[in-house]
């Protein structure tokens, strides 16, 4: 699976953020979701969704090799991470998320829950294997 976006379909509901945080942290806190929904209002009146496409730029700059690739997915090892935040700076999409109650950045693990539950199909699997529920 590879996350892609169709931002013109996004309505800004933030279901993706809530399900992401609830799935990974067992917390009802969309501020811990590993993606971003940018609202551009009042003009031009559009949303832009930013997701991790597993490009690996974060891993390349990590000084302690805390971000490692497994089967095409870059996973952050919380034990190894030293919270230098170099990956946060480097991420081209701004989707390594910093939260005040988390010691390390929050990174997408490509689980696909946002694809399954985005009501608008604004987040897609570019490889087509994961679809919205009911599709």
């Amino acid at each position: 699976m590879r996350l892609e976006t169709e931002s013109r379909l996004c309505s800004g509901c933030k279901v993706c953020l809530t399900i992401c945080a609830l799935s990974h942290f067992r917390e009802n806190n969309p501020k811990k979701g590993a993606l971003r929904v940018e609202s551009k209002f009042p003009t031009p009146g559009v949303f832009q969704v930013h997701v991790c496409n597993q490009c690996g730029a974060c891993a390349a700059v990590c000084p302690v090799e805390a971000i490692r690739e497994q089967g095409g997915v870059f996973l952050l090892d919380r034990e190894t991470c030293v919270s230098c935040m170099a990956c946060v700076e480097e991420c081209p999409f701004g989707v390594l998320i910093v939260h005040p109650s988390e010691p390390v950045p929050i990174k997408c693990d490509n689980c696909g829950e946002c694809v399954r539950y985005c009501p608008r199909e604004a987040i897609l699997d570019g490889e087509g294997s994961v679809k919205r529920m009911g599709r």
Binding site: C13, L22, N28, N29, F41, G45, S101
Partner: protein
């Protein structure tokens, strides 16, 4: 207490202090949240007889236990204050994203009291609370002010503002949020204006405590999947509420020409299809909503180029049909003007329509408005009058108090076509042919608003000539819909998709840990319905049955044309509906709750206040 942030924020504008207090368990136990908290805190906190625009009035802001949780439509916030429009219980509901943000910041209610000596805004960043200077914001439009604060504070802040109308204490000023969501009704923005409170900006980072996170995730997923599977999920969403415009005209219930008629011949030029094909930019959702009703639009003509969220159905009805503006572009432009001024476009369209009819009848004359004229169908006249109202200039200063008070000034029979109940302007359903919808408007606790009981589909389905069963159904709906406002959820999944009500107790249990059936939850709603009635009885001398009648136009004037031509609802029918309604409610024939009813719904504390009124 799972589902709750656990704190109340009390802000005193007079001495510029705040306190963070633990959320009382008794408040949760007896009133759940949202509208329940608003009603109980208003009863306890606002001194009887308070001037709605004086420092002793208080603004209560409350999300609910499911606000911000993982389920469809969990983005609603309840605002309450003693209403300057009606003098009684006032609340208004807003969507967008600020309700969850208040929970993430750590609060289940905010109590705003006193009066600032100069313009301020309330800054909430988790537990970092400040009253900040708003002198640079004062005078800005509601949308402009949100843009300014977003630029100053960051996109992550959720912001509510008032426009010039709120600053100038127009009694139908609205609170604006998220570039187009409004808490429009009952004039709470005027209360903000009276307190010199221009805005509220909120950012939070905390989680909402869950009784069972795994179960919340599982039930929430099932609820979203169930929404996706409903036929209306694909069909209803593109037009949102504007989609009902055709049907309302077909059944002759579309407010037209200040509620003279129920059918607007040019409705196809202002309906949902016109919106989607001509002006819509994007669908715009409140938090957690799978069926966004928000239609963000751009209208561009030689005279203007503006972005506006909407128009939604109510605006299409009150600005479109009711003032006979006959094209979607001008309706959207007029919508934008009122949004930026901070006027509720329901009351706003109603008041302007009233003024246009007053001009036609010679009650408002050209020399009273600087030699101008006021014509139905003129967007220029609509815009001009909206500005006069928002800045309380000239005739606008009279109209800024709403149609009831304006008709008392104008006289000459204008009260017959001042379309309101209790001082709140009627919203988007002409009801002379629809007994349940008529009774809904008559008995809604805040005044003539549709959202307590949207009964018109029930009227059409069961027969509009039939009176039997109507009062009973209205009573049921008046418990269901306000329960959504207590949980602070949107009702449109239920209303528009037919989403089953049985889902809500399941997610309520997963989030809060409390096992309650839907019927048990409805008992809380009846408690609050009686409490808001008691509040208005306490505050308004002589309140009761006489406050539950529609304007004379609806009881005496037949609809002249359209599918409901000839229909009106004679006073004896109105009286029969009220008699039945009061009997079902356990209220006496003056509309005062009986002692037994107050006891049965757990409002013994109100009995001492209400008993003398029954004597």
């Amino acid at each position: 207490m799972n589902g709750y942030a656990g704190n109340i924020l009390r802000v005193n504008l007079t001495d510029r202090t705040h306190r963070i207090l633990p959320l009382p368990e008794s408040l949760v136990r007896d009133f759940i949240g949202g509208r329940g908290f608003v009603a109980k805190l208003m009863w306890d906190e606002i001194p009887p007889g308070a001037d709605p625009l004086g420092p002793e009035n208080k603004i209560i802001v409350a999300p609910g236990p499911l606000t911000g949780a993982f389920l469809p439509g969990a983005g609603k916030l309840e605002w309450g204050a003693k209403s300057p429009a009606t003098g009684g219980y006032g609340d208004s509901n807003i969507g967008g994203h600020i309700a969850p943000e208040i929970k993430y910041a750590g609060f289940d209610a905010i109590i705003i009291e006193g009066q600032a000596s100069e313009p301020v805004y309330l800054y909430i960043n988790d537990f970092d609370i400040e009253l900040r200077c708003a002198s640079h914001l004062w005078g800005q439009g509601a949308l402009q002010c949100e843009t300014t604060l977003k630029a100053e504070l960051g996109e992550e802040f959720q912001i509510c503002t008032i426009g010039p109308a709120g600053e100038n204490k127009v009694l139908f000023a609205c609170i604006s949020h998220d570039f187009g969501r409004q808490a429009g009704r009952t004039g709470i923005a005027a209360v903000m204006g009276s307190k010199n409170l221009k805005a509220m900006a909120v950012h939070g980072t905390k989680a909402i405590p869950l009784a069972d996170p795994a179960e919340t995730l599982e039930v929430g997923k099932q609820m979203f999947a169930a929404c996706f599977a409903k036929p209306g999920f694909e069909e209803w969403t593109p037009q949102g509420t504007a989609g009902v415009t055709n049907w309302v005209n077909e059944v002759g219930a579309f407010p037209t020409r200040n509620f003279t008629s129920g059918f607007f011949p040019k409705y196809e030029n202002i309906n949902g299809e016109a919106l989607v094909s001509r002006i819509k930019v994007t669908d715009k959702a409140c938090y957690g909503c799978p069926i966004p009703c928000g239609k963000y639009s751009r209208v561009k003509k030689p005279a203007y180029d503006v972005y506006v969220e909407g128009p939604e159905y109510e605006t299409i009805a009150l600005i479109g049909g009711n003032t006979e503006i006959d094209n979607i572009e001008d309706v959207a432009y007029a919508n934008y003007i009122q949004d930026e001024l901070g006027l509720d476009s329901i009351s706003g369209g109603n008041v302007v329509g009233f003024a246009m009819e007053c001009f036609e009848k010679g009650i408002i004359q050209s020399d009273m408005i600087g030699g101008r004229i006021l014509r139905f169908g003129s967007v220029d006249d609509f815009v001009w009058l909206s500005q006069e109202i928002a800045y309380r200039r000239g005739i606008g200063n009279i109209l800024a108090d709403g149609v009831k008070k304006a008709s008392e000034v104008f006289g000459q029979g204008s009260e017959r076509f001042a379309i309101q109940v209790k001082g709140l302007e009627w919203s988007g359903y002409e009801a002379r042919h629809a007994p349940a919808m008529m009774l809904s408007y008559m008995t809604a606790d805040v005044g003539a608003h549709h959202n307590r009981s949207w009964a018109i589909t029930f009227d059409v389905a069961t027969g509009r000539d039939k009176l039997e069963g109507k009062a009973k159904r209205v009573t049921e709906l008046q418990h269901i819909r306000p329960l959504f406002d207590m949980l602070c959820l949107c009702r449109l999944q239920w209303v528009e998709l037919g989403f089953e009500l049985e889902w809500y107790p399941k997610i309520f249990r997963a989030v809060t840990g409390q096992k309650r059936s839907w019927d048990e939850l409805l008992e809380f709603s009846e408690r609050v319905w009686n409490l808001t009635r008691c509040y208005s009885l306490r505050e308004i001398p002589g309140f009761g049955r006489s406050a539950d009648y529609p304007p004379a136009r609806f009881m005496e004037e037949p609809i002249p044309d359209g599918p409901t031509a000839g229909k009106y609802m004679p006073r004896e029918v109105i009286d029969r509906l009220l008699d039945e309604y009061y009997a079902i409610r356990g209220w006496d024939q003056r509309g005062i709750p009986g002692a037994a009813k107050l006891h049965n719904v757990g409002l013994e504390f109100a009995e001492a206040t209400i008993a003398p009124l029954r004597a």
